[in-house]
């Protein structure tokens, strides 16, 4: 802090001229600081315990080094001056600041939440922030990295507003970003079903679902703009599911008591992404977006403290390129692949976010990871990724394991079939433990419950790590309904079954087909086997209300940032957040920053900052290519994944986390010594690209464990075994009601923690119960 300054003074208690020169006064240390709340300079006085007569005080002592505050006329001047010097030396500014500024946890984090009641914050903020006039937008360049829902929608909207956009993706087309794989749906507080939904309820569900670890104002804004997203996407030609009257249809997702999820079969992410892609295509066709496919961002360039460009590698030719702009937006997704096995795409990576972190962007809550309960279980060591079965299946599927241990053993040995187990010998453990929400509890709760049963030996596949997701009851129910509607014979069991299967097929056909292709079992006949898998990361780059990171001009949107989902994300909220950030939030808020740049002119790329960043990138690539190792990149990635899953997975404890930190650090060292990257730097070289990504995962993984160790509570997806209730539920601690934002300081172990306090004014923080 530049404003802080230490001086001595006499502690006058009344006007100076009312004292006599023989009066004795206390000497105090005066300390100036900037109040983070009001942004004004303030003074603190601290007594030194030394007294001095007015006549002995040298008020100009600071003008020369030789002069001391207490003149030689004081008989004890030597001793007193010595005490004063020692007092200053031991004066701990940070300690004092902590006491006087308890509300602002960190002096560097300003969330910038607007004043006013929560429902008006966003409107007021939009009315007050700076805008850039249309003619000036032409003079401003913006780089958008990533073309998923967040990046794609942001690029399209910024271009539409008139900015010159350069968009980058590592895939061969923006349409292949991993948002495309989202299945279930997108939430919006439309209340078309008339079942009591509202903006406040969506806000409330999201904050509660996130276990009271998200930023209230951001979540409210998200709920507020959610309805716009649906209107926007319909206008873009997204073919949402409709009912027979031609109106939009909804379904229900975990953790909520209303139906607010809009969907397009089991491919909602695909349809929304293709919508954003079409909006981008329109702008690419008009020349407002310059698209760079198969380009990977390898560094952010900071000029005079502001993000002014990026360094990329052309993945076809290997060329290293410099790109400049007035602002840089990262929509680069999450880092779930740090676990190696996850539902993320093979190419999903943390590199862009991590490079930004290394250049000054704080990384928030890295330990908040979502483990999705319904994924196809791991089948063997060769496995390269895990496949999600949409949460929507929990609308109709019932989750169970055998009640008797001997039945479970028999199933594991393949001597017993699940369909042979009688109804009373089945343990529908979610319905048993959480009667109010049943199979539709939030993801973190469902995952932990499945793990608890499997750890107790009730798992249902060869590895003992799977539970059943059973549709028999739904098929029977729908079948009977159909038979009744059509006036057919209710006693004809095979007719009921076949009609019921038809209904289930209509709802989840593509998911059932996918399951059958992968597992080679027919889920209409035998229950599906599922097990939790890493799916989404709530943590990410720290951003303020404007979605700006701690680096001015650098923004993070979608899964890449941290703000909206707290410690656990509710189903169908990722698509909502990505599009809200990209279509409706960032395009407004970025103007506030860019308004100062209308006279800046194009940013040159031949400066020392670009030079240095490019040299760094080249140096790392050269090191990989010339390394004389023997092991492929995947060897290290798989090892890292094992450490992460076993020690930083669904349940964490102090001992494991400490071991994980050591092990990851050691693995990183051996990676740089032993990795082999074949081929050369100036060609299509996937191993080289992978090496760079895994190098960053190896650093992030350690910070992840460090964060999990520091967060001594259980919240949402972060479950510390030391902190649980008697029933085994997550136990939050009031003193951890803050965001952990880590500052890069060289190695992950040296990262410095900053805290942003979370205040809940419009929601009562309660125990999160789904019982």
């Amino acid at each position: 802090m530049k404003t802080k300054k230490i001086t001595y003074s006499l502690n006058y208690r009344k006007p100076k001229n009312s004292y006599l020169s023989s009066d004795e006064l206390m000497v105090c240390i005066r300390f100036y600081y900037k109040c983070t709340k009001t942004n004004k300079a303030k003074i603190i006085k601290k007594s030194t315990g030394v007294k001095c007569k007015l006549q002995d005080w040298d008020s100009n002592w600071h003008k020369s080094i030789a002069r001391k505050p207490i003149k030689e006329t004081d008989p004890n001047h030597k001793r007193k001056n010595k005490i004063l010097a020692a007092k200053v030396k031991n004066f701990d500014i940070d300690e004092i600041l902590k006491k006087v500024q308890p509300k602002s946890f960190s002096v560097n984090l300003k969330s910038g939440i607007p004043e006013g009641p929560i429902a008006l914050k966003w409107t007021n903020h939009k009315n007050k922030i700076n805008l850039v006039n249309p003619a000036n937008k032409r003079l401003i360049d913006v780089i958008v990295v990533g073309t998923g829902l967040a990046g794609g929608s942001a690029a399209a909207t910024l271009a539409e507003l008139g900015y010159n956009v350069k968009a980058f993706c590592f895939q061969d087309s923006p349409r292949r970003a991993h948002s495309i794989a989202a299945q279930g749906g997108i939430n919006a507080a439309k209340n078309y079903q008339g079942d009591g939904d509202s903006t406040y309820r969506l806000f409330y569900d999201t904050v509660k679902g996130g276990d009271y670890r998200s930023r209230e104002a951001n979540v409210y804004r998200l709920a507020e703009v959610s309805t716009n997203i649906i209107d926007q996407c319909v206008a873009q030609g997204v073919p949402f599911a409709r009912d027979y009257g031609g109106l939009l249809d909804n379904r229900s997702f975990g953790g909520v008591l209303v139906s607010r999820t809009f969907y397009a079969k089991g491919q909602t992410g695909q349809q929304l992404l293709l919508g954003a892609y079409s909006a981008m295509n329109r702008q690419i066709g008009r020349g407002k977006i310059k698209m760079y496919n198969r380009h990977e961002m390898l560094d952010v360039v900071i000029v005079d403290g502001k993000a002014r460009g990026i360094i990329t590698r052309n993945l076809i030719t290997g060329e290293i390129e410099r790109h400049s702009a007035h602002a840089v937006v990262l929509g680069t997704g999450g880092y779930g692949n740090v676990f190696y096995l996850s539902t993320n795409a093979m190419g999903s990576n943390v590199t862009a976010a991590w490079k930004a972190h290394k250049r000054g962007a704080f990384f928030a809550n890295p330990c908040y990871t979502q483990i999705h309960p319904t994924c196809i279980p791991v089948s063997g060591d060769h496995q390269s990724k895990l496949t999600l079965m949409s949460e929507s299946l929990r609308n109709d599927g019932r989750i169970w394991v055998p009640k008797k241990l001997e039945d479970a053993k028999a199933i594991q040995n393949k001597t017993l079939k699940p369909t042979a187990i009688a109804e009373e010998d089945r343990d529908y453990f979610l319905e048993r433990r959480y009667p109010a929400f049943g199979n539709l509890v939030p993801r973190d709760v469902a995952s932990r419950a499945a793990k608890e049963r499997c750890d107790a030996g009730f798992g249902v596949n060869a590895t003992g790590e799977a539970v059943y997701l059973d549709f028999a009851a739904a098929i029977d129910r729908y079948g009977k309904e159909q038979v009744y509607i059509k006036g057919l014979d209710e006693k004809d069991e095979s007719l009921v079954q076949s009609l019921g299967k038809e209904v289930v097929k209509g709802k989840y056909g593509n998911l059932f087909q996918m399951y059958e292709k992968i597992v080679d079992e027919n889920p209409y006949e035998t229950p599906m086997m599922i097990y939790p898998a890493v799916h989404y990361t709530m943590g990410g780059i720290w951003v303020d209300y404007n979605l700006q990171t701690t680096v001015p001009g650098l923004y993070a949107i979608g899964e890449a940032n941290f703000s909206d989902h707290g410690a656990n994300r509710l189903g169908a909220s990722a698509l909502m957040q990505g599009l809200a950030d990209g279509y409706f939030v960032l395009p407004y808020t970025i103007g506030d920053y860019l308004a100062d740049d209308i006279r800046t002119g194009p940013i040159p790329t031949d400066t020392i900052e670009f030079e240095e960043a490019e040299a760094n990138v080249r140096q790392q690539i050269k090191a990989f290519i010339n390394n004389k190792g023997t092991k492929p990149v995947d060897y290290f990635h798989k090892k890292l994944g094992k450490i992460m899953w076993n020690k930083c997975g669904m349940a964490r404890n102090e001992k494991d986390l400490k071991e994980a930190i050591e092990e990851i650090s050691a693995l990183r060292e051996s990676f740089y010594k032993e990795v082999r990257v074949p081929g050369s730097a100036d060609e299509f070289n996937e191993e080289l690209a992978k090496a760079g990504r895994v190098a960053d995962f190896l650093e992030l993984g350690e910070l992840f464990a460090k964060d999990a160790l520091a967060r001594e509570e259980s919240a949402g997806g972060h479950f510390r075994e030391e902190h649980q209730t008697k029933e085994g539920e997550a136990k939050r601690r009031k003193e951890f009601q803050f965001v952990s934002a880590w500052e890069y300081k060289g190695a992950p172990k040296d990262a410095k923690l900053h805290k942003e306090a979370l205040n809940y004014e419009d929601i009562e923080v309660k125990e999160r119960s789904y019982k």
Binding site: S153, T157, P174, P239, Q270, N281, R282, N293, K517, G679
Partner: protein, 248 residues
């Protein structure tokens, strides 16, 4: 399982390629086809050779990156799946498997099995959108009811993943199934009707410019399409094209 792989290797777009033989052993039938190639690549790297380059990303059949021509079929012998969802249980021990890139004039090879499909993007730039601003100031999503039938049909057309299997399969390297699907999606929805005539004209013009062939109604594309996009979409595109030229 033990297999013989015969894989197309090509250093880059300028050099000539050739088929190279790789024996591979101990393959589990539960592996996906791409996981089998991962095993091969790890072996090649450990031997100090260059791994086989192939496009892949989501590995759950939706991103449309993977693009292998296996034993003369786009995405291999299984139906309604992409290469990443093809499992080795579809092959027999001792099989010889030919693996080639998707071949078409408009899809030049980048390296080994990786091809450049940016022609698809350029067709979309020409008209694959509805010209609506993303300001959010549109009418309510329920303002225009859309019949369930039309919405479902539009959805079926919209499930195209843009992998290019239709082009690779077609003897004329035609992209009409791909273009027809996009044209149909918008033509079936009221929101897309305003620009329908321009859209079909522009997209078809760009398709021709990129060097894709014409449709001769063989129907191979529909059979090989991993998402089962129907041939009807080509018919609808042709109708739209004729309609738009009559309207002028």
């Amino acid at each position: 399982m033990n297999l013989i792989l015969k894989i197309w290797r090509q250093k880059n777009a300028r050099q000539k390629g050739k088929i190279v033989k790789y024996p591979i052993s101990d393959i589990s039938p539960d592996m996906s086809f791409l996981e089998m190639l991962d095993v091969l690549n790890i072996q090649l790297i450990e031997l100090g050779e260059e791994p086989v380059a192939f496009d892949h990303d989501c590995r759950e059949g939706i991103c449309g990156s993977c693009s292998l021509y296996i034993n003369g079929e786009a995405h291999g012998p299984d139906r309604r799946v992409t290469t990443c969802q093809l499992h080795m249980r579809k092959f027999k021990d001792g099989d010889t498997i030919f693996i080639e890139p998707f071949r078409a004039k408009a899809f030049p090879v980048i390296k080994d099995l990786v091809v450049d499909r940016s022609a698809f993007d350029r067709i979309q730039h020409a008209g694959g959108f509805i010209s609506i601003n993303t300001s959010g100031n549109t009418q309510d999503g329920n303002a225009i009811p859309i019949s369930k039938h039309a919405a479902d049909e539009a959805m079926d057309a919209a499930t195209c993943i843009g992998c290019g299997a239709c082009v690779a399969t077609c003897k004329n390297s035609s992209a009409m199934l791909f273009v027809g699907a996009k044209v149909s999606q918008y033509a079936l929805l009221p929101q897309g009707q305003v620009e329908a005539p321009d859209r079909v004209q522009n997209m078809v013009a760009q398709m021709d410019l990129e060097g894709f062939g014409n449709c001769t109604n063989t129907g191979a594309c529909e059979v090989e399409c991993p998402k089962g996009i129907s041939l009807e979409n080509i018919a609808r595109m042709n109708r739209e094209l004729i309609k738009s030229s009559l309207k002028g």
